[in-house]
């Protein structure tokens, strides 16, 4: 029986992705919802009015919140009860949107808090602003919301930098087309993840394993989708080629540098176990040896006459490196089944103890206080190299 999966879009970027998702026949098994403060975005999403929430209509008059976080928060907060009603029968919720503006940045945390109150697992797939095109404030706002509001509550978060578009799309591509492509890839990713997490009838990916990896560390991700018609003889190779050239993947380097990879194979009833195995092996060859590899394969009549390969390459945030060292034993526990032969003994990794070369005195061994990457327990005068004359011994 198909699980009740809800995909809820927040804000303008979310609604654009929803528009793409709605046009895909495979999305018919999903509950598609949207919330925004801008009426035009909701209309463009082509969802029926009963599946949308125009937040704070009387106050914002359906004209959006102009990028204001506080207005977005006020607007979405006023729709809490409607959000709760909309989500209450779901078993898994995908929250999609683009951070940096007003509605999604402040609204996604509210949606997550409502889902959390209803004890429904959530996976957040969000795009981050163009670092090179948009203002620094927007990027910082997005980063702050991601790290402080979204990561602590969502069961899994995939943060997709929009800048990846530059890496794979030809410079002469019209910007409208580039965004359309990005939205399409984004929508296909939602479909792929929902399919393997809930309906992977060949190889399924456990939701708990998936969330455990995404929650292990803060991350950014790259997404690659490749499709080929099912009756093509070399469909695996074609789909793989398309996947590697996918606009939101950002090139093969993204996979080779990934810390974790989620790979999925979707097809119709004609997809054989051999094809699935072949595709998964091809996918596995692409990833680094130490990366965590999760895979899933599913068939359904909704994927009639085509094969889709999807890859989500996850790069953990380097700022969480210390945490990784401490939790690497947990990570290792996932590896034997996924990435190494059962007969090969896995040598325990030699952990690097971050030994400090500076005396912290009585602060040694206490929980470190850090600010902008500095360990504030180390005396300030040492960190700033302030010169001292020095004490003199009394004779």
């Amino acid at each position: 029986m198909q699980k009740a999966i809800t995909v809820i879009a927040a804000g303008g970027a979310g609604c654009r992705i929803m528009t793409k998702l709605k046009t895909m026949p495979q999305s018919s098994v999903l509950n598609l919802k949207a919330i925004d403060t801008d009426r035009q975005d909701l209309i463009a999403s082509t969802l029926p009015a009963s599946d949308t929430i125009l937040a704070a209509e009387a106050w914002r008059r359906g004209k959006g919140c102009g990028g204001s976080i506080i207005d977005g928060q006020r607007a979405i907060a006023s729709a809490r009860s409607a959000i709760r009603t909309m989500l209450k029968d779901s078993e898994l919720i995908f929250v999609i949107g683009g951070l940096g503006g007003g509605t999604a940045t402040s609204g996604i945390p509210i949606i997550l808090s409502e889902a959390s109150a209803l004890h429904i697992p959530t996976i957040c797939i969000i795009s981050m602003p163009f670092f090179s095109l948009e203002s620094k404030v927007k990027s910082m706002t997005a980063e702050k919301a991601l790290h402080e509001d979204i990561f602590p509550t969502a069961d899994g978060v995939l943060a997709l930098p929009n800048d990846l578009l530059f890496a794979a799309i030809a410079p002469e591509t019209p910007i409208e087309e580039a965004f359309q492509l990005a939205d399409q890839e984004f929508a296909r990713t939602v479909l792929a993840l929902s399919a393997i997490l809930t309906g992977g009838n060949l190889f399924s990916t456990k939701l708990s394993d998936f969330c455990a990896i995404l929650n292990k560390q803060k991350n950014t991700c790259a997404i690659g989708i490749g499709r080929a018609t099912a009756d093509t003889p070399d469909k695996i190779e074609k789909a793989l080629g398309a996947m590697l050239n996918s606009p939101l993947l950002g090139g093969l380097d993204r996979i080779s540098e990934a810390d974790a990879v989620i790979f999925s194979v979707l097809g119709d009833a004609s997809l054989s176990i051999g094809d699935a195995k072949n595709a998964l092996e091809c996918g596995k060859k692409l990833i680094p040896e130490n990366a965590i590899f999760m895979s899933g394969a599913a068939t359904s009549q909704h994927w009639e006459n085509f094969l889709q390969l999807s890859i989500v390459a996850i790069k953990f945030d380097e700022r969480d490196a210390a945490r990784t060292v401490l939790s690497s034993e947990d990570t290792a526990s996932l590896l034997p089944d996924m990435n190494t032969s059962k007969n090969t003994p896995v040598a325990p990794a030699q952990l690097d103890l971050p030994l400090g070369d500076t005396d912290k005195g009585i602060m040694q061994g206490t929980v470190a206080v850090t600010f902008n990457g500095m360990d504030l327990d180390i005396p300030t005068y040492i960190r700033r190299n302030l010169a001292l004359t020095g004490a003199k011994q009394v004779k």
């Binding site: 106050w59 928060q73 006020r74 907060a77 006023s78 809490r80 945390p109 509210i110 997550l112 808090s113 409502e114 959390s116 109150a117 509001d149 979204i150 602590p152 509550t153 005396d359 912290k360 005195g361 009585i362 602060m363 206490t366 929980v367 206080v369 600010f371 504030l376 327990d377 005396p379 300030t380 005068y381 040492i382 700033r384 302030l386 010169a387 001292l388 004359t389 020095g390 004490a391 003199k392 011994q393 009394v394």
Partner: protein, 418 residues
């Protein structure tokens, strides 16, 4: 032993001392202090976190016994008890809640519903909300001071929410509950307690930055237009200053603590001394240039205030805080602290202590006791709300409305001079 049912208490587990303050609720403005005990310790609480539960319990039991013996009143008989916290990975943020007024008039029900909704935050599972304070009311998007009785269809409340890691907060609760043989105690975030303890309504309205610098932690709160704009606690304090001096000049850390705490360094600075004589870790007498000491101390103090300033900028705190800065806490007694404060924040600065602390105990009129005095006031106000006045609000409704304490204090303070 005298039995008195108007007894309230407040406990502070500081990095340098554990303090128990017991007071009696009267009909006057603030509680009357009837018992006090402060026990210095070393390492039981570090950076606002309990390191040794058994030792903490033992020290608190000693404090309870001392207060009981000195005052003839057993603090454990009191009904309301507040414990201060500032470690526990405490964090604060602004929340927004709304409620529809079907009758067209805002009543207590809408205020309660909106307040509760403002507290629905996306917190990690291991965290809990410990305090919330209403900062502003909007009725149909129009800002009002008091929404009760206003005509309108929608009430919006903005609230300052403080949350912390539950398991660490539970450590404080456990120690308190064992020593006081009670099932519950209120937890109050230290900066909010200092706010209650020493700020006036006028300052809260015109805008003020309060910094409470203690041994292990430095707390701050910004009030503007009678609402809390920002609050926080850094796990940095005078222990870091003492530690820096200890490392810089190879001095025993206790020597450095005494230099800072007993006024010796203050006196040397005021006397324009060029050197200070100390015994170093090797037992040898050394002379340290005053300029070196000030370089080490000033660098640390300025850094602490710079981190706070950074946080205030991130919280978009208004620059026009007309009442300037207020400095309190044990560290405020050190004269360079005030200078560093003014230099970094570019605000006027006054050092404040609990001037309205009333009763037999005079030691409390010291900047080091601002927070615990505020916590006692908090306990007293809660007592008046729940037990003192038959017309008072329901206890559960009141429980997390810290702001209502402030509102009610406004009435008290209207006729009260600091």
């Amino acid at each position: 032993m005298v039995h008195n049912h108007n007894i309230v208490s407040a406990v502070e587990f500081g990095t340098s001392k554990i303090t128990l303050l017991t007071g009696e609720c009267t009909n006057s403005a603030a509680p009357r202090i009837i018992g006090y005990c402060t026990i210095p310790h070393n390492g039981v609480v570090v950076k606002g976190e309990i390191q040794d539960m058994e030792k903490a319990e033992e020290l608190l039991e000693r404090a309870v016994k001392t207060v009981s013996d000195d005052s003839g009143i057993d603090p454990a008989e009191g009904k309301i008890l507040t414990v201060l916290v500032n470690g526990c990975q405490t964090a604060s943020r602004q929340g927004i809640g709304t409620a529809k007024a079907r009758s067209g008039i805002i009543t207590d029900d809408e205020i309660f519903a909106a307040s509760e909704e403002a507290k629905v935050l996306n917190l990690a599972a291991d965290r809990e909300i410990i305090n919330s304070a209403t900062t502003s009311f909007l009725v149909d998007s129009r800002q009002v001071l008091n929404p009760r009785g206003q005509s309108g269809t929608e009430l919006e409340i903005r609230a300052h929410i403080v949350h912390a890691v539950s398991s660490r907060i539970d450590n404080f609760r456990k120690v308190i509950c064992r020593c006081f043989d009670t099932a519950e105690c209120d937890v109050l975030f230290s900066p909010l307690a200092s706010d209650i303890g020493i700020l006036s309504d006028k300052e809260r309205d015109s805008g003020v930055l309060l910094v409470d610098i203690g041994a292990g932690c430095t707390d701050y709160v910004v009030e503007f237009k009678n609402g809390i704009w920002s609050s926080g606690s850094l796990q940095l304090g005078f222990e870091h200053v003492a530690n820096d001096l200890s490392i810089a000049f190879s001095l025993p850390v206790n020597t450095c603590r005494q230099l800072l705490a007993n006024g010796k360094l203050n006196a040397e600075i005021e006397n324009n001394s060029e050197e200070i004589e100390c015994i170093n870790n090797s037992g040898k007498k050394i002379r340290i240039p005053m300029q070196d000491i000030l370089t080490v101390v000033d660098a640390r103090l300025e850094e602490i205030f710079t981190v706070i300033k950074h946080n205030l900028i991130a919280d978009k705190v208004p620059k026009n805080l007309e009442s300037g800065g207020v400095l309190t806490g044990g560290g405020a007694k050190f004269i360079r602290t005030k200078e560093a404060f003014s230099k970094i924040f570019e605000l006027s600065c006054s050092v404040r202590f609990p001037a309205d602390a009333d009763g037999a105990v005079t030691e409390v009129k010291d900047p080091a006791f601002s927070a615990v005095w505020g916590a006692l006031k908090f306990s007293a106000e809660k007592f008046m709300q729940t037990c003192g006045d038959p017309g008072s609000r329901n206890r559960d409704n009141w429980h997390n409305r810290w702001k209502s304490v402030v509102s009610n204090f406004k009435d008290f303070w209207a006729s009260f001079k600091f």
